[in-house]
Symmetry: none
Subunit: 124 residues, 4 copies
Amino acid sequence: MILIDYRDKRPIYEQVIERFETLILSGGLEPDSQLPSVRQLAVELALNPNTVQRAYAELERMGYICSVKGRGSFVQGEKSLERKKREYLHHILKDSVRSCRMAGMSVDDIREEMEQILKEEQGV
Amino acid sequence: MILIDYRDKRPIYEQVIERFETLILSGGLEPDSQLPSVRQLAVELALNPNTVQRAYAELERMGYICSVKGRGSFVQGEKSLERKKREYLHHILKDSVRSCRMAGMSVDDIREEMEQILKEEQGV
Amino acid sequence: MILIDYRDKRPIYEQVIERFETLILSGGLEPDSQLPSVRQLAVELALNPNTVQRAYAELERMGYICSVKGRGSFVQGEKSLERKKREYLHHILKDSVRSCRMAGMSVDDIREEMEQILKEEQGV
Amino acid sequence: MILIDYRDKRPIYEQVIERFETLILSGGLEPDSQLPSVRQLAVELALNPNTVQRAYAELERMGYICSVKGRGSFVQGEKSLERKKREYLHHILKDSVRSCRMAGMSVDDIREEMEQILKEEQGV
DNA sequence: GTGGTCTAGACCACC
DNA sequence: GTGGTCTAGACCACG
């Protein structure tokens, strides 16, 4: 379910976060479902519980999950997630456009390049 | 011309790099023009010369500038930059598409969202 | 294992890089094995940790090793190294041929001289 | 006749040296012919006379030319050059073989790779 | 403990 | 004056 890449430059807790983020956004983890406990996941991934704890805390701060003392951690409800998803998509794309604009690209250049990338994506 | 944000989590030298990268790509710094000397920029930004040096070294490795002992540092010629520019544009957009795809978005969702963002951009 | 030659004109960090490069390519350091820590090697070679750090950073950029915060530095896996090895061989030889050509040697002169060198090599 | 590349990382005096080295070895400058005076070359290339002087001094030390106070600088005689040429060719190739060997390549690997490079060279 | 960043200040080669 | 290397010693993030 989750694979840690020790070659990856990013800290481990960040890898855990990103993995859960895409799992949740893509529907691999259903809304309201329960996550493995901190201890259990730490054992499974052979990680320090601190590391898992940190990832869960951050995921809660980001609005993806919700941890309740003594009960466990749960994926947020569907309504919250829908909003999150749209935010995420929009934010990523807007950011890339802003970067390109700051590098002096015209809107048409971006549109053209983007269309080509999306076609490749569909081809594959 | 260049502003260091000490609250930014990224290292200072990386901020310097990014600033010059966009300056060069956007034409704010013309091809073949000379950059401020390492020491001079260090004074201006209140940084250690080593930090500026590191940024310049990286910019050279990335193909944006060219430093020569005893003479100074210069923006690369127009031809090298054109290629760099296209690389940059493509890389940024491809990355954002990959992120969206991993979050479970369809190609059409991305295309639609992107078109809307670009329209806003033109409207402004 | 590693010897620094202070009479060598090349910078120290480059000597460290080259030594590790050949160690890794020749199999003296096995794929996935761990390198000495930055600090430890610095003590062993009586160098500043910064200098070792720089060598390691460059080796990572070159694709020979992989450094992870909090865990250490490791030789790249076998697959990455195989490619690196072929690149290295080709680059070294191509360069020498180019030098000879620019000095006015014919391809046949080079071939003949090379064959003689290789025979000596096998004889020894 | 000589072109200085200000983008080149090597010091200028070294570029001058290398240019003369290949010119002499390739026969572009005949044995016993006279070189331009230090001052004249400095003017032509828009260089500091010190820089040219340094190059000439080094070329003399390397055995390519011979400078006589009050008379000028001259390419060495044919006999000296023939020896130099063979030395150069042999040295360059031997060095590359040594590098490859130290990286763990077999003699046959080197021979094969070399043959391929030489064929490309002839094809072009 | 690990790698990575930064500062301060020195020295070198080159032009 | 320029870029480049090195040391000494500090601090941070990560596990």
